[in-house]
């Protein structure tokens, strides 16, 4: 994996234009830089007017920020995409089978393929879910698989997001913006559509309704409220699906059903797409101080009266310590070899791994097992001596809290800068919808890009931006 040069998705390793970018390159050569600069500003104005903003945690409530958008599309060929899709499909099937197993008979532990303490002592494991059968057998209705690329054919899964993956509204709005700004580019390239996502999402959720529900299921999106950092996305998805956007205080349990307060009285809900963490879902069953949830919803859920998407307790499958077992998990449940590679991972809870990690700290990326959003992680090669020293102490005092991975040489895609095109590192989050009889993967996904030269951190909370992601038709 230690490559001497970085793989660029437009220019490869040796400055040879790659096929998916051919039509784009011809167009770009005929464009005037000043016009493109104006387009870049126009894109920002469009985003601001549409209100596609996120609230920054720990800042004044009024502060809403734009995630920077880069106008150069990231282009993937259909062949590359087909291959990726098969791997994603396999992985998502395995994740659902794994979740069913660990909340039922725990065969994987009995078979000795996963240590019992990985489950028993894991904070993300929800004992309340033991023996519960979610409607349709689906645990992860919506999944976001974070992928990175290091070469022509080398994709790695960096992270599975099986709780409440966010960012899909950017995938959709990025495409809308590109369609408005560069219609001619879409005439020259046959790009597979992403705009069916909201309809697919609604159909997929409806297909997971409790068995007792007849007719057209009532779906609603549960948001923590307008101060949540992803509120825009919650409202956007509810709006695009044509369903209600509810908060905890709009809901209560009425006659054994979860119901929303409408202008005509309480109306029951069949499927709740919740964007609220497990812990806040039900003050009677989980965190008693939560004001975001619905007292008693878990009792309705266990009785089969409502579908909660994603199911409570799915966090166990995207935990970073479990991640290191994903190759075994995929093989155990699908009986197939994993199609997508994992990044080699050292579990620092293991003494010999810890020793290796401490000895090679300046070359590794170290992450918190339960962390997300790029917080609390160390990137060895770019860390200062002091940061390395401080992190070493953290590792020694709580080794079980960390995993380490080699620093991957992430692929780059050009962004538009004042000086023209310049390569920047990217990752990719495709979105996957799971219903009892099908797994639907939207062609494309969210490309996050590190805007700083050489930076490997693509998180929007850390100065990353986004791009429209194209999967071409053949």
């Amino acid at each position: 994996m230690s490559e001497t040069s970085i793989f660029d998705e437009m220019w490869g390793r040796d400055e040879t234009l790659r096929a998916p970018y051919e039509a784009f390159q011809t167009w770009f050569d005929g464009e005037d830089a000043a016009r493109l600069r104006a387009k870049q500003r126009e894109a920002e104005d469009l985003f601001r007017l549409t209100g596609i903003t996120f609230n920054v945690y720990g800042r004044a409530e009024a502060e809403e920020r734009l995630i920077p958008f880069d106008i150069i599309p990231r282009i993937i060929s259909n062949r590359e995409w087909q291959k990726l899709s098969r791997g994603i499909d396999q992985r998502v099937r395995a994740i659902n089978a794994f979740l069913y197993d660990i909340y039922h008979r725990q065969e994987i532990i009995k078979a000795g393929r996963l240590p019992a303490e990985m489950i028993a002592r894991n904070e993300a494991f929800l004992p309340q879910m033991i023996g519960v059968d979610p409607p349709g057998g689906v645990y992860t209705h919506i999944v976001g698989i974070d992928l990175v690329r290091t070469g022509d054919d080398d994709f790695f899964v960096l992270e599975d997001n099986a709780r409440t993956p966010s960012g899909v509204s950017y995938m959709l709005e990025n495409r809308e913006t590109m369609l408005q700004m560069f219609p001619e580019l879409f005439s020259r390239n046959r790009v597979q559509p992403v705009e069916t996502y909201p309809r697919d999402l609604r159909n997929s959720l409806a297909a997971c309704a409790p068995s007792g529900c007849d007719g057209n299921p009532t779906v609603a999106v549960l948001t923590p409220g307008i101060y949540n950092s992803a509120y825009f996305e919650h409202a956007f998805l509810a709006d695009q699906m044509g369903v209600e956007l509810v908060e905890g205080h709009d809901l209560r349990v009425v006659d054994g059903r979860v119901a929303m307060r409408t202008t005509e009285g309480y109306k029951p809900i069949d499927v709740l797409y919740r964007r609220v963490d497990d812990d806040f879902l039900d003050p009677l069953n989980f965190n008693p101080n939560s004001s975001l949830g619905i007292p008693g919803i878990m009792d309705v859920y266990r009785a089969g009266g409502i579908t909660i998407a994603n199911a409570p307790g799915t966090g166990i499958s995207d935990d970073k310590a479990i991640y290191s077992y994903m190759p075994e998990i995929v093989e155990f449940y699908t009986g197939e070899r994993p199609l997508l590679q994992n990044v080699p991972t050292w579990r620092c809870s293991d003494p010999s791994s810890l020793k290796y990690v401490l000895d090679n700290l300046d070359e590794l990326v170290v992450k918190e097992v339960h962390g997300s959003g790029g917080y609390g992680m160390l990137i060895g090669p770019t860390a200062t001596k002091k940061e390395l020293r401080d992190f070493r102490k953290k590792l020694e005092s709580r080794p079980g809290n960390y995993i380490a991975q080699p620093t991957l040489s992430l692929s780059t895609v050009p962004i538009f800068t004042k000086a023209g095109l310049a390569p920047r590192h990217v990752d990719l989050r495709p979105y996957v919808l799971v219903s009892p009889d099908r797994i639907n993967i939207t062609p494309g996904g969210l490309t996050r890009v590190a805007l700083k030269k050489g930076s490997l951190v693509v998180n929007s909370s850390q100065g990353g931006g986004t791009k429209d992601t194209w999967v071409l038709e053949d």
């Binding site: 209100g51 307008i226 409202a235 509810a238 209600e244 908060e247 709009d250 307060r261 202008t263 005509e264």
Partner: protein, 313 residues
């Protein structure tokens, strides 16, 4: 439709209406200051009273100045009814009910807020005042226009309209409440220039000067003005017009929900009690007493709407 959404739409349009009304009052106040000889800072007190923000001003300021009053009404964050806080309130509610709005209405509202943030972010100089007020008025008009042009005529629209007309009726009634004495027949010093200014001020405060002139020419009489503002059903800011819109929209809700609420009956009663007499009867009853009772009835109607349609838990 969620009770919370009904509440959000109701308040979104109340705030929007309030922003327009307050900016109109600032404009009127400035006009008096510029056109009337001998006018001074004191003239801003009744202006703030008509906007219902005078008490807040007194509580936070030591002296009454023109600049202070304009700033308070336009952009103070401490004043919950300033133009800027009203627009921010409208936009906050719009975010909350985003799923009930069309794309066009949301963008117009967000654009209105962005303009207000930009133009009212810092003190507005006297030189810029007319253009800033004009811009705000245009932006709120755009929200109104997209609302009419793109929103479905369903229960959501009804709640938006209820908020609009309750706020508007309240605003017109408050102006009458503060200025009733210049409309009393006893104040008939016809032709005196002072009264002319007062009357014109009242008409401008509710954008009625053009409409009134169309109907009555240039002859101002307190009786005609009172009639126009209270009972004339052609004038879109008169109490009678607003009341009949409130009744209509509650009626639409009753028919789409198949249930007539107490609020609906209350709106009908309000019209029977207050809007079916002629202006002479109002004067006989006592203009001030009449207005006070209308204000109370409007307040009760608002509270009943909240309750009947489950705005809160």
């Amino acid at each position: 439709m969620l009770g919370k959404t009904a509440n959000g739409l109701f308040w979104m349009y109340r705030y929007l209406e309030r922003a327009e009304n307050t900016s109109r009052l600032v404009e009127t106040g400035q006009r008096i200051a510029l056109t009337r000889l001998g006018s001074g800072d004191d003239d801003w007190l009744p202006v703030m009273q008509t906007a219902g923000v005078a008490e807040g001003y007194k509580a936070t300021h030591d002296e009454l100045t023109k600049d202070g009053a304009i700033d308070w009404m336009l952009r103070s964050k401490e004043n919950g009814s300033s133009v800027l806080t009203s627009i921010a309130g409208a936009r906050q509610n719009a975010r909350m009910v985003r799923t009930a709005l069309t794309h066009e209405v949301w963008e117009a509202t967000n654009g209105c807020y962005m303009t207000a943030q930009e133009k009212l972010g810092r003190k507005v100089s006297e030189r810029d005042l007319p253009s800033v007020l004009g811009m705000i008025r245009q932006r709120t008009a755009l929200v109104r226009g997209t609302t009419h042009g793109t929103m479905l005529r369903n229960d959501m629209y009804d709640f938006a309209r209820l908020g609009t007309f309750l706020e508007r009726a309240d605003n017109t009634a408050r102006i009458l409440d503060v200025k009733y004495y210049v409309l009393l027949p006893s104040a008939l010093a016809v032709g005196s220039s002072i009264d002319n200014v007062q009357w014109e001020t009242i008409l401008r405060s509710v954008s009625a000067h053009g409409g009134f002139r169309m109907e009555y020419g240039n002859v101002y009489s307190p009786r005609d003005i009172a009639h126009f503002l209270i009972l004339d059903k052609r004038f879109p800011r008169s109490l009678a017009f607003c009341a009949s819109k409130l009744k209509d929209n509650l009626g639409y809700l009753a028919s789409s929900y198949g249930k007539k609420t107490d609020a609906c009956a209350m709106a009908e009663a309000l019209i029977r009690r207050f809007m079916t007499h002629d202006i002479e009867a109002v004067f006989e009853f006592g203009l001030h007493e009449y207005i006070e009772e209308v204000l109370i009835a409007l307040g009760q109607l608002g509270a009943q709407i909240e309750k009947d349609y489950r705005f809160y838990e």
